[in-house]
Amino acid sequence: MDYTIFAVIIFVVALLVFGGVFLIRPRRPEAPPKAPPQERGGGTGTATAEPEAEAPPEEAAGPVVAPEPVPEAPPAPEIEMPPPSAGRLVRLRARLARSQNALGKGLLSLLSADRLDESTWEEIEDTLITSDIGVTAATQIVESLRTKVKVLGSRTPEEVRGLLRAELLAQIETDQDRAVRTEPHAGVPAVVMVVGVNGTGKTTTTGKLARVLVGDGRSVVLGAADTFRAAAAEQLATWGSRVGAPVVRKDEGADPASVAFDAVSRGIADGVDTVIVDTAGRLHTKTGLMDELGKVKRVIEKKTPVNEVLLVLDATTGQNGLRQARVFAEVVNITGIVLTKLDGTAKGGIIVQVQRELGVPVKLVGLGEGPDDLAPFDPEAFVDAILGDADQ
């Protein structure tokens, strides 16, 4: 055994030496080979009549946009017709307000104290840390809030609250589009891949997303590329049958890339609007599995570019979420984040770091087990809900 230790260490070390060669050398600007930017559906698309500005499909529409016309009911009688996406945001606010008030209240009561002394600031920092925002980000938020309070001489709770709101918003704000690209382009369906570690809710998210799309009158094909976990395909099939979306699946243990390929082929053949590929949960530390994921994406891209790769993150995830996101981003170049299980006591603060480091926006949030508990992520609503003024 001693020898094993010794041997392993030496090898790792030797590797590092060699690895060093390449580390020293300035990295080649090898941006992941992006598929040529596809013209977005707008003009060419068939089903999508939304103007480009609203192109943020269904979800991003929010309450501002008039709900999409209710589509004709799909054929089979037992199929449910999920409600369209508009109006979901209202629920988001309500839920967040319910689950996350603790943070907001705590912060505000602290901020409205007569004197903002050292320990108050530290407590604010602690409160932020408790929401998994991370030590660095929390310190930063507090620092900048502190400076602002000093400069502006703000003392009233309202002012400070406004500053805090702005600060939190600045942390999760991004100029990137938060819309999920699900509209077909040039007659080819949009392809959405759902990835993540085990047990974050990928299959559930896939099912919910399909419902949202069907509710908005799109046609959807689901690809059950989770061929590893027992009964994952059945789980997805159950979701699919509820909304009448066909599920492409194979036996357990089949090559997920082939399932994904078949799903996309079927989507193209049937002329559907969107193909959603659910992948098996995999820990980001498993190289083999991550390679497999890369392969799934590459294989799909033989048919048509993947428009959206959604990383599903669990709101309860702690600092490890950042590492997960980093590795997944490297392998499949994620384009959006879905934050699930936000209906619990967890605050999901990790997204602040993830968004900041990777620049990948949070696009959707999962708010519960109900089939329609998926909503677009709206930073303003998110922050407002955190601060506990959802009803204002």
Binding site: V17, G19, G20, R25, A230, Q319
Partner: protein
């Protein structure tokens, strides 16, 4: 990324060597660092506070031992304290006097209950029990099917009278399962329940009803090692709602540091009984508190690394590696290629490196290691002729060009590889001759300084690496520069008195920690705040 606690503390203590006793200031100075390290590991804030208070009390006035520097000593105390909390009372499953013994699983959605049920079933069966798995998760679509499949794989019967998908009463299922077990002589019943949130009072009530219906002998709270600050809330909610006797930690095969283990143990006092470390049914084990402690402190986990190596490598492979090392022949590029392939099977290189203790300052570089670079190295070597691989000395200019063309790289890459290889070869020779491992160029974290001449190359390599990670912020860059200078200086000084080499990076037990050297990523301390007592 963050440095390991030991590196951070060492940097705090760099000016405090040779004191006779740990003073209060020393301890306070480390408290913030420990706090940060624990928070980064997702230990819940209240737990961090009380833990630090505890550590402080113990560290107060402790004799400074001759063998350890103050930083190491504090870490030793922290580590011991952690192990004590985590492992305080380990226990086995309590079997009921009159079978069946009922074990109920509860936890959040996606924590891994169903998979754990299968693993537990398999483990119990291996211990000569006759378990029965009960599908009482009637909520999630096809959870029942999943349990059936898992049970089949584990070779354990599954009791699933209801199809699930929202149909059926889990309480009734649980109740019926006990009868079923009695009839069929199963001595253990494992009840898989639906995932639920702590705030969902309806579902918690349901769990409590199941509990009341079957009177379980053990309730296991299944929790994901990746969980963050919310661990305390959830653990408390489940304790209040259902109550549990022990905890099973899942997904430990990821790189989450699993501070939740500490939080839950600290808050609820319930022991952690099982650790689930992989996707296969056999990846299930009793919990090892000492390893968890090192993991939380991010001290590197050599034991895990070794275990992983043992699992991955066949014995004859290891023997072959060993013989290559022991033989008098020089280390060749072929050997290297082979070893690289083997090591890569262990997982991403950055992970492996992360498991080595004392690699703190390398974090940035480690983070930058791209697996593709390794592919490129392999490509270069594979573009060489067998002769060249055996004796890389013959690689001249034209051969280099050919190799570069053949592997799709630049001549400079080939050059770099060859030069590096010679260095490594020299090192291997030393290893063979001395039996110890000299420090490595470009590896400041390894304990033990290099014998004289090599130092220069090391400093250069280091400098080159650092050059490109200079911060964009000029102020910060300047500060980093200053730190680096200080670090280089210190390294030179240490070079003299650290000739002898510890056998192995100790990593565990906190006995002898690699001193490491304060790194370039030292957190900005200008705003140094001490945690309140």
């Amino acid at each position: 990324m963050f440095e390991t606690l030991s590196d951070r503390l060492t940097s705090v203590f760099s000016s405090l060597r040779g004191k006779g006793r740990l003073s209060e200031e020393d301890i306070n100075a480390t408290a913030r660092e420990i706090r940060l390290a624990l928070l980064e590991a997702d230990v819940a804030l209240p737990v961090v506070r009380s833990f630090i208070a505890q550590v402080k009390e113990r560290a107060q006035g402790a004799e400074v031992s001759k063998a350890l520097n103050p930083a190491q000593q504090v870490i030793k105390i922290v580590n011991e304290e952690l192990v004590e909390i985590l492992g305080g009372e380990t226990r086995e499953i309590r079997f009921a006097k009159t079978p069946p013994t009922v074990i109920m699983l509860a936890g959040l959605q996606g924590a891994g209950k169903t998979t754990l049920a299968g693993k537990l079933g398999r483990w119990l069966a291996a211990e000569r029990n006759t378990p029965l798995l009960v599908a009482a998760d009637l909520q999630r679509p096809n959870a029942v099917t999943q349990l059936q499949v898992v049970g089949e794989r584990a070779g354990v019967p599954v009791f699933a009278p209801e199809p699930g998908n929202g149909v059926g009463d889990p309480v009734a299922v649980a109740r019926a399962s006990i009868e079923q077990a009695r009839r069929n002589n199963h001595n253990v019943v494992v009840i898989d329940t639906a995932g639920r949130l702590g705030v969902d009072s309806e579902m918690m009530q349901q769990a409590a009803d199941i509990r009341d219906a079957v009177q379980p002998d053990e309730i296991l709270f299944v929790v994901d090692a990746m969980i963050g600050q919310d661990a305390v809330n959830t653990a408390q909610a489940f304790l209040d709602g259902v109550g549990y006797d022990a905890v099973a930690l899942t997904k430990l095969d990821g790189d989450a540091r699993g501070g939740a283990a500490l939080s839950i143990r600290h808050i609820t006092g319930r022991p952690i009984m099982f650790a689930s470390t992989g996707e296969k049914l056999e990846d299930f084990d009793l919990f090892h508190p000492d390893r968890m402690a090192s993991r939380i402190l991010d001290m590197g986990d050599v034991l895990t690394l070794i275990e992983q190596a043992q699992r991955t490598f066949e014995e004859d492979e290891v023997a072959k590696m060993a013989s290559t090392l022991a033989s008098d022949d020089d280390f060749t590029l072929d050997d290297f290629l082979q070893q690289m392939a083997m090591v890569r099977r262990l997982g991403p290189i950055s992970n492996l490196l992360g498991m080595m203790p004392g690699m703190g300052q390398m974090r940035d570089q480690i983070g930058n290691v791209d697996e593709k670079d390794l592919d490129r190295i392999a490509a270069i070597i594979q573009s060489m002729t067998p002769e060249e691989r055996r004796t890389p000395k013959i690689i001249n200019g034209s051969r280099r060009l050919r190799i570069a063309n053949g592997s799709g790289t630049q001549v400079s890459d080939v050059n770099g590889l060859v030069t590096r290889f010679f260095e490594a070869q020299k090192m291997m020779r030393q290893v063979k001759a001395g039996g110890g491992m000299p420090g490595m160029p470009g590896m400041p974290g390894m304990p033990g300084a290099l014998p004289g001449g090599r130092k220069k190359g090391k400093a250069q390599a280091k400098k080159a690496k650092k050059g490109k990670q200079r911060s964009g912020n000029p102020l910060k860059a300047k500060q980093q520069e200053a730190e680096r200078a200080a670090e280089r200086q210190r390294r030179r000084e240490e070079g003299g008195d650290q000739q002898q080499m510890p056998q192995l990076p100790p990593g565990l037990g906190g006995g002898q920690l690699p001193p490491g050297l304060g790194g370039n990523g030292v957190p900005d301390l200008s705003n140094f705040k001490l945690p309140r007592k």
